[in-house]
């Protein structure tokens, strides 16, 4: 996941797209250095544990769980486990094109 996400963020840097992580590894103090080490430059909500507030409220039971939201704020895709780099690219590109049109 991570190498592809880095490429994705770089490729769409000037497009109406954002990757938003919801991370369950720990608090800010412990997660920030790891994000920096790994070169993760996109924003992460700090959910602290797998049973953190947002994972619990959104009923997340498998990691990664991915939601793709369009520019209008509508859920367009939902995956438990990655659908694969190609599917991700294709769906995101479609919605970005839609947002720009």
């Amino acid at each position: 996941m991570l190498p592809h996400e880095k490429a994705l963020v770089k490729r769409l840097a000037n497009d109406p797209f954002a990757l938003l992580g919801v991370n369950s590894d720990g608090d800010c103090e412990s997660v920030l250095p790891r994000l920096q080490e790994e070169g993760i430059n996109w924003r992460n909500a700090i959910d602290v544990t797998p049973s953190g507030d947002w994972a619990t409220k959104w009923n997340v039971q498998g990691w990664p769980t991915l939601y793709l939201i369009d520019a209008e704020g509508v859920i367009r895709e939902k995956w438990i486990g990655s659908p694969g780099d190609d599917v991700l690219d294709q769906k995101i590109d479609e919605l970005v094109a839609e947002a720009k049109s």
Partner: protein, 258 residues
Amino acid sequence: MMNLAHGVGGLSIAAVCLAFGTAVSQDDDLPELQNRLENLREEFRVAERSRFKALNDAETPQATSAAAAVDPWAPLRERFDTLAFDASGTEVAAGAWATICVNELRYGTPAPAFEAFGILINDHPNSDELIPVVGVIWSAGRDNPHTAEGLRQLSEDSENRDVRGGALFGLAKLLESADATKDEAFEIYRKITADYADVASTRGSTLGEMSAGALFEAEHLQVGMAVPDIASVDETNAAFKLSDYKGKVVLVDFWGFW
């Protein structure tokens, strides 16, 4: 006097054992059996930890598959079986059957897991040892028609409230996985939020929170729905909302390094 009474008690228990043809243990044996269970569980924990460590340390895909192929349960399976029979009818047997059930599901095959589940329902319906079992058995439920029945029975008849709540939650998870029974699942989630909200789940949150999550997902997190907002802090401790990103396509990724 004490010795005599004890001797008589021992005899009558032995007689009961013979009558039922099972190895019901005398009270004197319980601490020893308890020790055996604890030692076996510790041995298994060590084997599992070393597997996780090998998985974490693996640096190539080949090393990862080699580490994943290691089965920490296989070498211990028979010894847990033997203990379950030696301790038959006691809380130690409940512990052994519960361990067998959970790990056959995780590393082995469904048949012995369901056999263990059946024994737990019949002989140990009130045991705390059932809590982790009802937390996982539903995931294999579609392979075995007796799972829903067993969970339903425990949710009604167990005298242990945590077991009743956990069984009800497992039943809801199982029913939710088929379209025809989804509505019944949501009814059960609502019942849990009313009657068993405070019961701890095996995940660290409560059954009430987990059930509320399942209902929230069904009502607000389906494709085509307006996404509910998230308000959180980011890695720099700055507050933000998902709705700040309106006008952009957003990929929300629930993830962890672990």
